[in-house]
Amino acid sequence: MIKTSQIHPIKTLPELEDVARIGLRHLYPERVKLKVGLGTCGLAAGASDLYRHLSKLVKEQDLDIELSRTACIGLCQREPLVEVQVPGHSRVLYGDMTADRAEELLEALSAGRVIADSAIARADADLDLIADSSHLLASEHVEEEVPPFSQCPFYSSQLRIAMRNCGIIDPDSIGEYIARGGYRALHKALTSYKPDEIIDIIGKSGLRGRGGGGFPTGRKWATCRKAPAEVKYVICNADEGDPGAYMDRSVLEGDPHSVLEGLAIGAYAIGAAQAYIYVRAEYPLARQKIRTAIEQAEQYGLIGENIFGTGFSVRIGVVRGGGAFVCGESTALMASLEGRVGEPRAKHIHTVESGLWEKPTTLNNVETWANVPVIIERGADWLTSIGSEGSKGTKVFSLVGKVKNTGLVEVPMGITLREIIYDIGGGILDDKEFKAVQTGGPSGGCIPAEYLDMPVDFDELTKVGSMMGSGGMIVMDEETCMVDVARYFLDFLRDESCGKCTPCREGNERMFQILEKICNGKAAPSDLELLEDLADVVKTTSLCQLGKTAPNPVLSTLRYFRYEYEAHIRDKRCPAGVCRALITFSIDPELCICCGRCAKECPVECISGKKGKPPAKARKDAKAGKKKGKVGEPFKIDQEACIKCGTCHDVCPADAVKRA
């Protein structure tokens, strides 16, 4: 660590390089380094205890090992994740780390071995995206037994721009960020470019807002710059609220300085001296990391007055969100930031003209800001070489649901859904059939199998009735009822509607009520028409984008899975066997092996029978002259008392419990 007394504001590039050299020694020390993934995903899997255990072991055994923290390494499925970096050797990533395995790992390390069978992948070099170079790790020895990241399906097709430092650096170390090329883009922006030139580069790069709408970032900045006003603001929207989406959290937790640097560049470009980061209340760790980062950047003079001696000044403040999904909407966010109720207003006069405190305001989300420094450093042409026709660069997706490898993946736009789900995601859990993928969060749509080969970008997703949104990707298998999915999302949205306008407040609630009726088998055919009318009025006449997109889960499932709605309504049947009111469980007496596990696990004790040898087998044995033993009675479910929880179905070892 660098002592506070040694810190003085950085004014020149050589001074920045001095700090980079110190940072590099922290990143790649001349002794063994263990990195533990301590992002929220890691903590949830017990990484904090693991870290404590490791540090205890290192101390007890007096090992010459540096223990360090990093944030999300990406493969959340295998948390807790630990990386081992031996000087001159490949760095090796281990997953599913436990206290016992940590001991094993340290033992192996002392013996100079790697445990190949529990290693996920190895890195022989670290790509430095900013400098377009690599830092060689395996200069002396390549760990051949462990596959390289380039052969690891989860990582091989990824290209990390927004997450370039996530899982590599210690987020609390500004030195490590600078060692990876950090704050060079800010220096370049302030010393080599005029604000208009910055906007020109961002415009030409084709960068589009990563928070949902996909609005061209350059155009947004240009309008804000042109707006006549003395005071302007830039805001980072970190109110990531989509269920199952957590890319912004990971960037804030893993690489907070990339967001600060992006914000400072943006503030310079549009002419603002104040920036705010609005972080949702549920992200305490992200707020802590970003606060530490601001403190450090201020100490080094990279945020604050007269940055790099250029006369440009910017302050960055952190604001805790109020815990409402709607505050991710720009006008609601600004209202909340001002201390008013987080409620959207009509946006005919855009926030770039009149936003926060009625001043011109540029708002972008975390991922967008994190992209900015790289674009400034590498140039517009570099970004346009990545991605698809209308969507340049990469997008981070949180791949969740019924897929083998869940986690955060950053891929060039234009990649197909199939590549994401089957190559990176490893296919459907338990090798079941793929049914649909929900993209764009609750306001997105469900895309069926026939579109698996479509390229994923802003425009293509909109064409099939979904959207990019913030990049949530929920994979669903054959055992998912699409009416139930629509009901789930509408339940979320009706609750998160601010309630200001009639269609969103009343319409979403009514749509939810109808979906409940359908799931309970109590809907009439006329309800489907009413549902479509309501979806139409909510979509067309709601005040803000929350309302305008809220019917998407209903509209997209109606578009691709209408037969499921009809089966629920007409035949009172749930084809996927999910909606409890429409299914029954029964035990096939021929298949029942009379083990009694179903009866034991049943929470309402509605299954009866007698444990023992199945009668059929007993008869057979008797014929063969074998000992008869204790004869059982096939188990039966009392349909009146059954709550249809499905436990019997899940525990039956003989597949004798049938769902219909």
Binding site: V341, E496, S497, G499, K500, G507, T540
Partner: protein, 265 residues
């Protein structure tokens, strides 16, 4: 302010730039239903009944006219197209199911072609959450006794903790702007009650006729604001009108015929 030209239902109309479309239409005699708009308050855009269809070049969309500032030359506005009627009707159907007890909502729904809605009525109260009362209390009167609480379906207008408000001055402005009759200022036995909020206020009797004409708190509030000019507050409007009329009569009768002619001119 520059002038913008547009057409409403095919007729040319012009207005100052950034005037709200609903105001332009109403000023030009077009009848557009609305519940959450009041000329004295900032437009809020909650009820979504003042929908119109706008065509601008190749774009065509449905918009709430109360919050739509007219900025672009040559937009074509339709106030009564098939599309507009459909969406107004659907929103009216939603409001009717929410407030079946409100005559105003029922009448409005009927005028849009909804006799019996398809949705099961909620039967809560007559509040459509238009926000006019909250706006007038906070922005115009400047008291802030009521506010929206809750979110989504749980949203409602309330006083803090649903206790009779300490800061309410009982002016009754909320009841005055309420379009559906949900908020009522009821007066009996020298007291005024702002009904759904259970706040009671003592009325100050008029020195002339003895009728309560202002609440004690409102009088205090206004006196603090008007300072030395607060004399104008004495006496009820009726008596003040009567005194003024008597005064006028006296002046009129004392005039000579010549003066009378001069006065008229």
């Amino acid at each position: 302010m520059p002038t913008i030209n547009l057409t409403i239902d095919g007729n040319p109309v012009s207005c100052e730039k950034d005037t709200m479309l609903l105001e332009v239409a109403l000023a030009n005699g077009y009848d557009i239903p609305h519940l959450c708009y009041h000329h004295a308050e900032a437009p809020y855009g909650a009820c979504r009944l003042c929908l119109v269809e706008i065509t601008q070049g190749r774009w065509n969309w449905v918009e709430a006219s109360c919050t739509y500032p007219v900025r672009d030359e040559g937009i074509e506005v339709k106030t009564n197209s098939e599309k507009v009627r459909r969406y107004r009707r659907l929103n009216a159907e939603l409001l009717l199911a929410r407030c079946p007890a409100s005559e105003v909502v029922r009448e409005l729904a009927r005028s849009l072609g909804v006799e019996e809605g398809r949705l099961p009525p909620d039967g809560k109260d007559k509040c459509i959450l238009c926000g006019l009362c909250v706006g007038v209390c906070n922005e115009l009167v400047g008291v802030g006794a009521i506010s929206f609480v809750g979110r989504g379906p749980a949203r409602r207008v309330a006083v803090p903790f649903d206790e009779p408000s300490e800061v309410c001055i009982g002016c009754g402005a909320c009841a005055e702007v309420c379009p559906t009759g949900h908020i009522v200022a009821r007066e009996a036995e020298g007291q005024r009650e702002i009904v759904p909020f259970r706040t009671m206020h003592r009325l100050v009797p008029c020195p002339e006729c003895g009728r309560g004409y202002v609440t004690e708190k409102q009088l205090e509030f206004l006196k603090a604001r008007l300072g030395p000019k607060s004399d104008v507050l004495t006496g009820c409007a009726l008596c003040k009108g009567r005194t003024r009329a008597a005064e006028l009569k006296r002046v009129y009768e004392s005039l000579t015929p010549e003066e009378e002619v001069m006065d008229v001119s």
